[in-house]
């Protein structure tokens, strides 16, 4: 039984590897971690995240956790959130943080950018209406500053307001007179963060990285 299970596991891994782009080794490690988090169950629930002691201090902890239960991040064109996720979903969400290869064509780079920014955007856009409204943005900033007890929420609000205004001024250059700024759309989101090299910043170096994928031989 053991051998047959391991071979089917291997096949699963291969399948997942094809789908998510992780190497088999990485998947193995992440699977181990996943099992550790779920206490050897098949699905991961929100409560399981409570046990990660390092995460408790993260100011945007809840948002990170939510991102794992957000269907939009699973890549199936579905919306809404789920109660528990399996390993595949876990891996899919994780795959947003894969480092990029060194040499990319412009389209590839754009695609990765879009993908990563989409992840961030979905994180902000809780009600999935394709805009980050001011309230949502305020929430983000408040969370972000929540680790600083000295900063009042008024300040956070002011910052969010300012940031929103900045978005409006940057993106809505030629606003029609009666047009109103409703919130940050994804296009605007791309626009305001176009100077951030997100493809090089938003990644995690997953352990046991297959060096050949990272270090493209020239």
């Amino acid at each position: 039984m053991g051998s047959s299970q391991s071979t089917s596991e291997e096949q699963d891994y291969q399948l997942l590897a094809d789908r998510t782009g992780f190497s088999l080794e990485q998947i193995r490690i992440l699977h181990k971690r996943f099992k550790h988090l779920t206490h050897d169950k098949d699905t991961l629930r929100r409560e399981d995240f409570e046990d990660i002691s390092d995460l408790t201090f993260n100011p945007i902890r809840s948002q990170i956790v939510e991102a794992f239960f957000d269907k939009r991040n699973f890549g199936h064109n579905e919306v809404g959130s789920v109660e528990e996720i399996g390993f595949e979903e876990f891996l899919t969400v994780m795959s947003h943080f894969r480092p990029t290869r060194q040499y990319l064509t412009e389209e590839e780079r754009d695609k990765i950018r879009q993908d990563k920014l989409r992840f961030l955007f979905n994180m902000h856009d809780k009600d999935n209406d394709d805009t980050i409204t001011l309230d949502e943005y305020r929430h983000v900033v408040e969370e972000l500053l929540s680790s600083y007890p000295e900063i009042e929420s008024e300040t956070a609000k002011a910052i969010a307001d300012a940031a929103m205004l900045e978005v409006a001024s940057v993106t809505m250059g030629q606003m029609a007179p009666d047009e109103l700024y409703e919130g940050i759309t994804f296009e605007h989101f791309l626009k305001i963060l176009k100077n951030v090299e997100i493809e090089t910043k938003m990644h995690v170096r997953f352990l046991n990285v297959d060096t050949t994928t990272m270090n493209c031989v020239k």
Binding site: L165, E166, Y181, L193
Partner: protein, 818 residues
Amino acid sequence: MQTMGFLSYIRPVFAIYISCAVLALLAFGTTTEVSPKPATTKPPYKSTALGPINTVPKVFPEPEKTYLPLFTINYPRVQIPFEITLWVLLASFAKIGFHVYHKITIWVPETCLLIAIGLIVGAIMYSVHEQPPAVLTSSIFFLYMLPPIVLDSAYFMPTQAFFENMGTVLWFSIVGTLWNSIGVGISLYGVCQIQALGVQDINLQENLLFASIISAVDPVAVLTVFEDVNIHEQLYIVVFGESLFNDAVTVVLYNLFNHVAELPVVDATDVLLGVVRFFLVGIGGMLFGFVFGFVAAFTTRFTKKVREIEPLFIFMYSYLAYLLAELISISSIMAIVTCALTMKYYVEENVSQRSCTTIRHVIKMLGTVSETLIFFFLGVVTITTDHEWNWGYILFTLMFAQIWRSLGIVVLTQIINPFRTIPFNFKDQFGLAYGGLRGAITFALVYTLPDTIVQKKLFVTATIVIIIFTVFIQGVSIRPIIELMNVRKTNRNLGTINVEIHSRLMEHIIAGVEDLCGQWSHHSLKDKFMRFNNRYIRKILIRDDRPESSIVALYKKLELQNAMEVLDTISGDISAAPSLISLHEEKTSKSSSKPKKPFLASDLIAMHEILSKNMYKIRERTVSYTNKHALPNDSRAREILVRRHTSIRRSLRARSFQGSEAMRSQKYFSLPLGQSLDYRSAAERFCHNGDGDTAFELSSWSARPRSKQPRLSSSRTTRLDTLTEVHSVASVEDEVREEQRGPGPSHVSSSSTDSRPRAPHQRYGSSGKLSIVDSDAEAEEQQPVPPPSAWIPEPPDQGSSGPQNPLLRRAQWKPQDQ
């Protein structure tokens, strides 16, 4: 045009001429004044010499001594400081000269120019048979000239980038320097065995010593180029960090090999001891630096009452760390570097803004002077000393230095790349290898070699050749090559608050995801350190501890700018006042006491010009890429504010308007030119007026000051120190405004900063999404309320009559400013 070009050509020449004149003076001074030296020293000498003789006969009873000399020259008394002063002055003049015609320094690195001037000076000195002053001795260099240079680099090290790339930086600087030293040393030793070169007398130790000296890279010029072309951060910081730490490594190796070079025989134990000592010295220095850094930071906690001497603590502690490390022969460079890196963050929060500026300026100044002097000296020495020219040895040195450097970079990158998230590609490697210029420290080290080294002269010559080769050829060509190769660049202009929010956000997300995966890297490590820092270290080291997110810091800064620009708009001869007033006059349909002033095209151009001259660029938040030769100007904000305070009085009386130049720079919190959300209303107002042509500009101008009104008062919540005086006024005003606002659904005011109560804006209803524009909208909505004509003619008198006018705040500033 042509004459202008010619003139600008002439000016540097003129400057150089001045320098030469000064130099000639110096040369003349030293030559002529040296000759009177015996004369002036004669009288005392003579008297003492005569003393014993005179005692016996006493026939000529002191005929000379009776008269008090009216005029004496005592050159030897002042000689050393005098000459040093002149040298520094001359070098500084040279620096002025380079910047007269700024294009020179773009294409030719400053170091080249300094060396060139040094060469000229050397030539003059040579022609008058004058020896350069003995400024550069070993103890002077190590005790007085090296510390400022290192402190300068260390203090202005972009901390964040450094810690993010610390592994790579240390890898390249430590292993890379070792690699170079040993590689070049052994290769040269091999070459020395060739009979034809005639340098068999250089043994292995001396070769290693020499190799360690010439492996210290000093890429000032390269860094300047990298900054200019916005090279990506990783490459920049690696070059920067390498230059800093390999000084430390080089000096350790230098001392080590210097010691070893004196040993007659070297056995395995010596080698082993050398290796152990290498690490002992380095790590010891680091620990020392930590201790001193913390003590320095702790000291500045208590300097509130003695602001004047605050900067002194910084220098003294750094220097003390250096000297004590030197005392017990551990790496003093390591000590001063770690000391500076450790204390910088805490000290800058403790000391006052002025002290901070002083610290930065003095550090920069001392560092520059030191370096300038060395380069200058290099030029002089090149001409004035006798060289031992050994073609073979020198060419081989040059070749090996290049080969081993390139090889080292390639090999070391291959090793480090798998550990890096963003590996260095081929172009980066080329940049690293080609950026390996040799500089001031290399020269100083070789020049201060002990005379026991037989081939010192050859070493000096070879080093000079290497420096001149790298600085002139590589230094000049690196800019075109880098530009041609199109090395990955980065946009460093990340001053917007959205970007800041998201880079923070990303750090937290990544730290979170890493925690999730149960692994750690520098993100989660940084996260943990920051928590530890905020909880414990800051409490101990910082006087009034208010941990602050970088987002808030940026926000405050932007707000300060904003406030200043509000002042800006009404300062000087031009401001938005007339257009603003006329605007809401129309809107409220009240009779205006002031005729609206039409703008003509020529006016606009004039405005543009005046504004572009007066405008300050927005200060970068993190001045992470500090030019080696220039200071980040952090005090600018305050200075502007102070200036505005004075000018505001004047401007309140003067009618003036605002150019669109200012509008463009104004991108935070208010809407740029023609992009205002309340564009429609503004336009409408103008349509009423039929002033179609100017409506566009006017609306944008008017949008600007109004949109910023709330910001001024909102500074209260964020404790913007510089603007505290506004608070009383603003709050009073706010209260009044609150009263006057009357009924109306005001979801906005509840959801926004309490310090700036919002008028309800019905247009947007209660959608909530739109309240981002509330600062604009609110200000706009409030415009109708105040009697518009009130404040302009006699601003101070309006205090009681129109408190609800947002503009009133400016009027009320006036008494405070006076």
